[in-house]
Amino acid sequence: MHIPDGFLSPSVCITGYALTGGVTWQCLRQIDRDRDIQANIPKASLLTAAFFVASLINIPIPPTSIHLIFNGLMGALLGYYAFPAILIGLFFQAVMFQHGGMSTLGVNAIILGTPAIAAYYLFQQRHLLRDKKPFLTTILSFASGAGALLLSATMFAILLVTNISPDMDINAERTAIFISLGGYGIQAVIEGVFTVMLISFLERVKPELLNS
C-alpha cells in the first residue's frame, strides 16, 4: 500500500510533505512532554527496526502471499512515536526496496501514519473498564488492526484513483475504488485477527511492552 513515484501530481506530493511535517511536529511536541523521552527513543527505534523486519514476513494465502502493514499495531504499541517510526520505515522501504518513492514519501506517511495515531487513541480506551478487560482488549485490538488498515486503504485508493488520470469518468473511478477496497477488506480482517493474536501473546509473555 505504497504509492510509487510518478503517479501523483506535484501539488499532491508537496501537500503530502507539508502535512507530514505538521503531523510530525505535533507528534514530536507530544513526545517532548514525555517524561521518559531518553529511555523511549531507543525503545521506539528498536521497535521500528523490528516492525520493519516483521513486515518482511510472508503470510501465505494461496495462491499468493501477503505482507502485513502493522500500522494499527504500531500505533497501539508506540503511541505518538508511531508516526515518526512509520515515516522512518517508509524511508527505508523506499530507498532499499523501491516500495513507494522519494517524491511520494510524505503522502505515504500520511496514508499509513495517521491511522496509526487513531489506532493509538482507540487502543487506549481499554483502560476504561476495570473488569472484563480481556474481552475489551480483544475487541480493541481487532478494531485497531483492522480499522487502521481500512482507513489507510481508503485513503490510498481514493488518492490513487482520483489522481491517476484527469480523463477518467467519475463512475469508473468509483468502481475502481470499491473494487480495491473489497480486496483490502480481506486483508483488514487478517490484520485484525493477527493483531488480536499478537497482543494476547504479548500480554501473556511480556505485559510491560503494552503498558507504556
Binding site: F201, R204, V205, K206
Partner: protein
C-alpha cells in the same frame, strides 16, 4: 512408531548416519565458506566439531540439515540424499542461542510445536512432551513461560523440543555458551547419556573431551584434522596453527 525407530537403530549399527561427499558451499558467489568436505559419521557416534570463529561450523550444520543448499557435492543421511529446503525428520539441530528456537508462550507449547507440525494426534503429542521433558530433566518447567527462563533452563528446553521430534541424528551448535558450571555439568551428563548420533560444535574443548569419542577440526571451511580427542587436542602445533589452544586438562597430564 517406537518399533520403527528401534528397527532403524538396529539397522544403523552398520549404516552411516551422515555421509558428506565433496561438499562445497558459499553464501554468494564470492568466497567459499565450505570447501570439499568429506566426512562419514557412523550411527551412534558422538563427534566434536572444533575450529575458530568463522571456520564454518554453523554453516556446515545448516547444510547438513538441508537449510543451506550446497553449491556442490552431496549429503546423505542414512544413505538417503537429504531434501534441501524440506523438513528432514532424521535430523535435529539445537541452535547456538536457545532464544532463537523458543517462540511459543509456554514450554509445553514450544515442545508441542514441532509435533503439531508433523500432524500427530493429541494423545501422542502429550506422551512425547512428557518423555522429552523427563529425558532432559525439566519436567517442572512445563507450564512456565519459555521467554522468562534462565539461560540454562532455556538450553535444556530447546534440547527437549528437538528431541521430542525423535531425530536419529542431533547437531548441537555451541550448546554450552553462556551456561554456568552447574548447567554445563548437567548438559555434559545429558550428552554423555544420550543415544542418538550426535555432533557437537563448541569452543569449550573440555566439554568435547568429556562428551565425544571423535573430533573433527575445521579451518576456513576445510577439514584439517580428524581423530580421537586426545590425539588431536594435545597436538600443540596442530592446535595453534588453527587458532586453538591445548585444553588445560590435556596440557597438565602430558607435561608431568
Amino acid at each position: 512408531m517406537t518399533n520403527l525407530i528401534e528397527t532403524a537403530e538396529q539397522l544403523s549399527i552398520k549404516t552411516k548416519a551422515v555421509s558428506l561427499r565433496n561438499l562445497c558451499f558459499s553464501y554468494e558467489q564470492e568466497r567459499a565458506i565450505l570447501t570439499d568436505i568429506n566426512l562419514e559419521i557412523a550411527s551412534g557416534e558422538s563427534v566434536g566439531l572444533i575450529g575458530a570463529n568463522g571456520a564454518g561450523k554453523t554453516s556446515l550444520f545448516l547444510a547438513v540439515c538441508g537449510i543451506l543448499k550446497p553449491t556442490y557435492g552431496e549429503i546423505k543421511l542414512f544413505e538417503r540424499p537429504i531434501q534441501t529446503g524440506e523438513f528432514n525428520p532424521e535430523i535435529g539441530l539445537v541452535f547456538q542461542n536457545p532464544s532463537d528456537q523458543l517462540f511459543c508462550p509456554t514450554v509445553r507449547d514450544d515442545i508441542a510445536f514441532g509435533l503439531e507440525n508433523i500432524g500427530l494426534d493429541p494423545e501422542e503429542i502429550k506422551a512425547r512432551i512428557a518423555s522429552a521433558l523427563s529425558l532432559t530433566g525439566v519436567t517442572h518447567l512445563a507450564e512456565r513461560i519459555s521467554h522468562q527462563l534462565s539461560g540454562g533452563e532455556k538450553c535444556m528446553v530447546a534440547i527437549a523440543a528437538v528431541l521430542a521430534m525423535l531425530p536419529q541424528i542431533v547437531l548441537y551448535d555451541e550448546p554450552s555458551a553462556n551456561l554456568d558450571m552447574r548447567a554445563r555439568r548437567r548438559l555434559i551428563k545429558f550428552l554423555q547419556s544420550s543415544h542418538e548420533t550426535t555432533v557437537v560444535s563448541s569452543h569449550d574443548l573440555e566439554l568435547i573431551i568429556e562428551v565425544c569419542d571423535r573430533v573433527v577440526m575445521l579451518n576456513q571451511g576445510r577439514i584439517v584434522a580428524d581423530g580421537t580427542p586426545e590425539e588431536i587436542m594435545s597436538n600443540t602445533s596442530l592446535m595453534e596453527a588453527n587458532g586453538l589452544e591445548v585444553p588445560h586438562s590435556l596440557t597438565h597430564s602430558h607435561r608431568r
